[in-house]
Symmetry: C2
Subunit: 425 residues, 2 copies
């Protein structure tokens, strides 16, 4: 089944979420399908950041730590994010980067398992997980004398064995957009005696999340993708209440202290998620992130994450349906799962060659996706197209597929293949 452009336009007319797009600055003539890498700019961000800089910093200076509530930003923005991931107020803080937060929660998870079951010394993750997660896990495993074992997606369940201490998974895969079943895998990990850590980098703001109902142990997530927090925005962290006060995480900076402004000599971790803070909050960056999270929360009157999810699935299905009409002819394969329950908010296409040139040709036409080169383990090149339901229209999905077809038909990308293969590093 494939629809006409007029039908796509009609879907936009009928779309109750359409007004949410008005929240964003989007460049003229651009179809932006890379919000899974860097979310678009909310219109409120510039003036909010300007006010933080000019008024709170410039005029009120040091007093703003209290008068403007700077000191509470990690908790306040964390409370906003909690509404998007099924956590409760007071359970999430914003701090540091995703990588640093993974180090914190993985350290805590390892310490918990070490204390209760020292025979379990294996951390399992997916070979196709985002590399920074694997790098952090690898160094941490070495430090604790653990072993990091990387498996394929279909091997995960079998890897839950009596040696497993922690299962570290990214909920939606960055390359393929394939989504795990958080409830099922959390239950299996727990039944097998292990803890589970979920990276929500490609999920938060894109798909409904229920960290309590799905019984995660720890989650971390990214502020600059579907949360629209700006380039390099701070990340977030949640620990299940059953673990949050067990063990301190190793980055024991003053903001995680029980009484940071008592300037005590000895470290006493705060109770609750505040102990996952470390250094002084990045105020300007957090102000931008708060605007980004607000842009997602603005969907609440329209049905919130469930409504966004329905639109996201319709967008990715429309795009994939269109692409499927010509994919085979050009040796393209849709690698994102077409089962709605297994797909995040992106569509990834695999091609044997020419992927970089195709993406460049699309960019020249104003269609912004991105390219992830294949390697020895993941041989195919990947073209990624992210569909942020807050600001992507159905006609954008239709037009993007049309442009892709045009690029492929032009053959222009074939000439670039040889050069590309020897230029991209």
């Amino acid at each position: 089944m494939s629809i006409t452009r007029d039908q796509a336009v009609a879907m936009d007319v009928d779309d109750r979420l359409a007004p949410l797009r008005e929240q964003f600055v989007l460049p003229e003539g651009v179809i932006y399908l890379d919000g899974n890498s860097l979310g678009a700019l909310p219109k409120t961000t510039a003036s909010r950041v300007q006010s933080v800089i000019a008024n709170e910093w410039g005029q009120d200076l040091i007093a703003s730590w209290n008068s403007a509530g700077w000191i509470d930003l990690p908790r306040r923005t964390g409370d906003q994010i909690a509404r998007l991931i099924g956590a409760r107020a007071g359970e999430v803080v914003v701090a540091d980067s995703t990588s640093v937060n993974l180090f914190k929660v993985l350290s805590a998870a390892v310490r918990i398992t070490k204390a209760r079951d020292p025979e379990r010394t294996v951390i399992v993750s997916e070979r196709s997980n985002f590399p920074t997660d694997l790098y952090i896990a690898q160094a941490l495993a070495e430090q604790y004398g653990y072993h990091l074992r990387l498996v394929e997606k279909e091997e995960i369940v079998d890897a839950i064995n009596p040696q497993l201490a922690v299962l570290l998974l990214t909920h939606v895969n960055y390359r393929t957009g394939a989504m795990h079943d958080m409830a099922a895998l959390s239950a299996k990990a727990h039944a097998g005696g292990a803890l589970i850590v979920w990276d929500l980098a490609h999920s938060a703001g894109a798909v409904p999340l229920h960290v309590h109902a799905d019984d995660a142990d720890f989650v971390i997530g990214c502020g600059y993708k579907y949360l629209n927090g700006g380039p390099g925005a701070p990340a977030f962290v949640w620990a299940h209440p059953r673990w949050v006060d067990r063990f301190q995480q190793p980055l024991s900076g003053w903001m995680g202290h029980a009484v940071p402004f008592a300037f005590e000599t000895g470290y006493l971790p705060a109770s609750g998620i505040a102990r996952y803070l470390c250094g002084t909050p990045a105020v300007i960056a957090m102000a931008a992130l708060a605007c980004g999270v607000d842009s997602v929360l603005a969907a609440e009157p329209y049905g919130g994450m469930a409504a966004l999810r329905a639109k996201s699935l319709a967008l990715t299905r429309l795009f994939a349906d269109r692409v499927s009409t010509f994919a085979a002819e050009f040796d393209l394969a849709i690698v994102s799962p077409m089962d709605d329950a297994l797909r995040g908010s992106q569509v990834s296409l695999a091609c044997e060659a020419g992927g970089y040139a195709i993406v460049q040709a699309l960019i020249a036409r104003g269609v912004i996706g991105d390219f992830r080169a294949g390697d020895a383990l993941q041989s195919a090149d990947i073209l990624r197209f992210g569909f942020t339901p807050l600001y992507t229209r159905f006609v954008d999905a239709w037009d993007a597929a049309w442009h892709l077809h045009e690029v492929l038909r032009s053959g222009i990308w074939r000439d670039a293949c040889y050069a590309e293969r020897h230029a991209v590093t």
Copy 2:
């Protein structure tokens, strides 16, 4: 010796650095003496950040990682800071917070000493060091089976013994403004077989620094004090070339990988200081920091850090001289060293009671200093007055002392003492 207000005004007229003040937004009627806690706002910051948000993010979106050089910000801003601390281009990166960077370098220092001399298992720091440094060191010592020993300033040299692995010192003390001799203590630590880590939080941008000439092993520093980078600005880190490629630091995120965009499964640390990066750079915050560092580098045509240092010493001396004319009468003691070689860029006053009320009364008069309560170890309350030579005038120092005298003479603070003692936590 004490001067008249007219003489202070004349010193400003003669001050070759006076035009540098024009770089800053400073609120009307305020004498800002808290730049040691949060530097003032450079006039360039708002428009620079606005351009990053509106143009680079809003219009160019994901392309800006390359086209706007976002990906190089940690190194570029690091190169700027290198000029202020006596490091070479390519040796400094901006990343994360001071606390997180301390965790990185202290981990590296511990690993180096563990490999070359496993009998050395003591980390020594000052009991009066800034607490976050002690907290990070405490957790790290526990993790490695080391012992964190806290000593008084005069005990440091005797603590350099065959058990010492790492000496961790903050160059300028946050409470007293007392400054260590970096060259002498680094030499003593090395002669004793130990490594030395310097925290430059209260030094960078305030006093001349020579990390090579003074033979530091690792340094970290803060972006939001004398570097004027904005609230919670990213921090910086330097490792001596003799150590930088020895051992990886434990926060092995993708930005510290040798080839981050190859998305390899295994971690291979970058050579050089880039391996001290971890997550995605905080672009907006780094843009603000770059403006702050530029505001300090703007002193280069006027003699740079040496000229700023001369002015800073003159400012703190003027203020201390004025205060010394009435301090005894009100049981105030100047606790910052009056020997120029031993004083950073602040003047701290100790008082037995009423400190909080005094600072509040000064703030009501537009003189912004700050208050650090005493505790069991450091019994006196401290009033801190930071003198950032970039934007503080001699007449400001004179007027601040005059206002302090007026507040003390009014006696208003005495009434507040009892309430304060029972309210401040």
